[in-house]
């Protein structure tokens, strides 16, 4: 492993993007996990840990909510069932992080055990005492602190929030960790959550692969959408090849096609692409598209894709959402994606007819024409 003063910005941004997805699935405000990450990294650095430990705390905190992507709570589930399903959230997150590549040290395990309690009453494993890795305990303390700050409205001195942690000292949090956290906040009251860039380089984390793995997880939440990204990518490539538009790069369009899964972030199962050619549920779909654009804007390296993925619910005639853009004002790749999403959701028998019927209103006629010319794949 090579230590470096810089971090691959694409990796860093991919983590930001994925953390935003975790926030929304985990029922938190956008940016929550990154706040936790900044506190966890600065706290670890305050404890004079090795660069690898600081990076592990940072990335584990940033990704600690991502397991929520895999947890599908049935709508009619009782609170008890929802709670039990939630216990599998940390191990699911650890599996996603471990599959994404080589994060430093204990990153995946800190995600796995960030909800363990010092007294052995946490989840998923009821680990206790020193059996809980230090990094996991750090993420837990930082997480609890940010939640407490949010509950206080973010006002007042951070020291005033500490009493909420002390109530759990020796039960949820290790005494030594709370003690050090007190000292950390006392010394860093002004910059305890200032943005932090870990001093570490990853040899084996492919930023796009990390993002795409999460998109696959989102697609896999429902049986009928599992593998949706692959199908959309195939359709997009076929359309772009036939369209022959110099403004559209096939690989980027295909990547954007997979990113349309982000428009299902926080989905409770009510979103269906079957109605994408109709106005049924347009308001909800438009809001989700806007949310996906917000997620992409969280990561500067991917912000350019925000109007693309955020524009998939715009209608060619200007009556779509979220911005009511019309014709050429809609991003050209977004117009391709709109056709691909509809084609993927429809059956082979109905796709060509219904997509042809939507040309000029919902869909761009040129893109529809290219789609039909390439054999109307579904």
């Amino acid at each position: 492993m090579t230590l470096s003063a810089t971090v691959n910005p694409q990796t860093s941004d991919a983590v930001r993007l994925v953390s935003a997805v975790g926030d929304l699935f985990g029922g938190r405000a956008l940016g929550f996990s990154m706040r936790v990450a900044n506190v966890a990294a600065r706290f670890t650095a305050y404890c004079k840990s090795e660069p690898e430990a600081i990076a592990a705390a940072y990335y584990a905190a940033a990704l600690h909510r991502i397991g929520a992507v895999r947890i599908v709570v049935p709508r009619d589930a009782s609170a008890r069932v929802a709670e039990i399903l939630g216990w599998d959230d940390p191990p699911a997150g650890a599996a996603i992080v471990a599959a994404a590549g080589t994060f430093p040290g204990l990153t995946a395990d800190a995600v796995r055990w960030h909800r363990e309690a010092f007294d052995g009453t946490g989840f998923p494993d009821q680990l206790r005492w020193k059996g809980i890795p230090e990094t996991a305990m750090t993420v837990n303390v930082a997480r609890a602190f940010i939640i407490a700050r949010e509950e206080q409205g973010g006002t007042g001195a951070p020291q005033e929030t500490l009493f909420l942690l002390s109530a759990d000292s020796g039960s949820v949090f290790a005494l030594g960790t709370v003690r050090r956290f007190y000292a950390f906040i006392a010394e860093h009251a002004a910059d305890y959550e200032a943005p932090y860039e870990p001093d570490y380089r990853f040899p084996h984390v492919d930023p796009r692969a990390l993002i795409l793995s999460v998109c696959r997880e989102i697609d896999a939440r429902q049986l009928h959408t599992a593998g949706r990204g692959d199908r959309i990518e195939r359709i997009v490539r076929a359309i772009v090849e036939r369209l022959d538009d110099a403004r559209i790069d096939s690989a980027e369009a295909a990547f954007a096609g997979r990113l349309t899964a982000l428009a299902r972030t926080g989905d409770d199962g009510s979103t269906s692409d079957v109605f994408t050619l109709t106005r049924l549920g347009l308001a909800a779909r438009g809001a989700r598209a806007a949310m996906s654009a917000r997620i992409l804007r969280c990561a500067p390296a991917y912000a350019a894709l925000a109007p693309v993925v955020g524009g998939i619910e715009e209608w060619y005639d200007g009556s779509g959402l979220p911005d009511g853009l019309a014709g050429g004002a809609i991003d050209p790749v977004a117009r391709v994606l709109a056709v691909a999403i509809a084609a993927e959701a429809l059956t082979a028998g109905e796709a060509s007819q219904r997509i042809r019927a939507a040309a000029g209103t919902r869909l761009d006629p040129d893109v529809v024409s290219a789609y039909l010319q390439c054999g109307a794949p579904t």
Binding site: E83, L106, D109, S166, R179
Partner: protein
Amino acid sequence: MTELRAATRRIAGSRLLDLLLERSIESVVDPFMGLPTHLNYLKRHGIRVDGGDLLDWFVRAGEGLVVNDFTILREDEVAAIVEGTPGRVYPVDMFRAWDGVFFTHEQCQYLGIWHANIHDLRSDGQTGLAIAGLWHVLCYWLQKSQHPDEMPDVPASELAWRYIRETERLVCTNNARNTVRRADFSATLQASRAQCMYLSPPGRNSAAEVDARIWMWEAWWQGDPYLNVEHYFRDTVFGRRTNDHASYDNAVGLVLAAAEAIPYIVLQTRPRDAARFEALMRTFRKQVETVAPNAEETYIIARR
């Protein structure tokens, strides 16, 4: 005041589940289960589990966490455990030997009350959950006795209530007949038809160095503050002297030999001991692999 060890074995059901699912293993036996929260996790995810231990309170807790599927503790039942019934004569002096040594006078009285209340419960499941829940209170008190100013003062009954409730949340079913028994490893293994033995070998001389939080709870459950749990282990392989490599390896080897009929063995150890255990495992099994998910955990997995 007693010394509380910082280090403890990290036995994680979720990690174990990953290893088992990768190998399509559906049942596990752990002959040294300890407090079987890992078996409870495996049970919740559909794995059939058998456990064994020599300490009775571990086994009782296992009856609550592992064996019984639908145990419920209603509010009034929890209240009947954590509070003294007015008019009843309790053995409040039962743990007087610990008064001023490990606990306060009031805490010792509560230990006596809880001891009596728990022995009155008629359901094994409820008894097990209450034992596991109240054990957390003991740990809390011992921790607080060392750091009195850093932990909040919580009334004994409130603390007990909270921890029993925490433990009760873990009750689950997996439609399988899961078992725990108070027995030496050989009896546990003989009684089980599991596909896999999970083994986290007891430490060297562990019988003589049992954590205060463990032996004290056995003493509480037995109602004898002077109880020495060492005699439980006297006639077992790990109860003899296991200071040197040879005798310790011999003890572990006896366990591995007793598991001859079990298709898989998952042995959890630390990196520093991994090579020795792997070599030992190879004397019993031909297919051996080592999995080290992080720098602190090593699993040696052998297939028959």
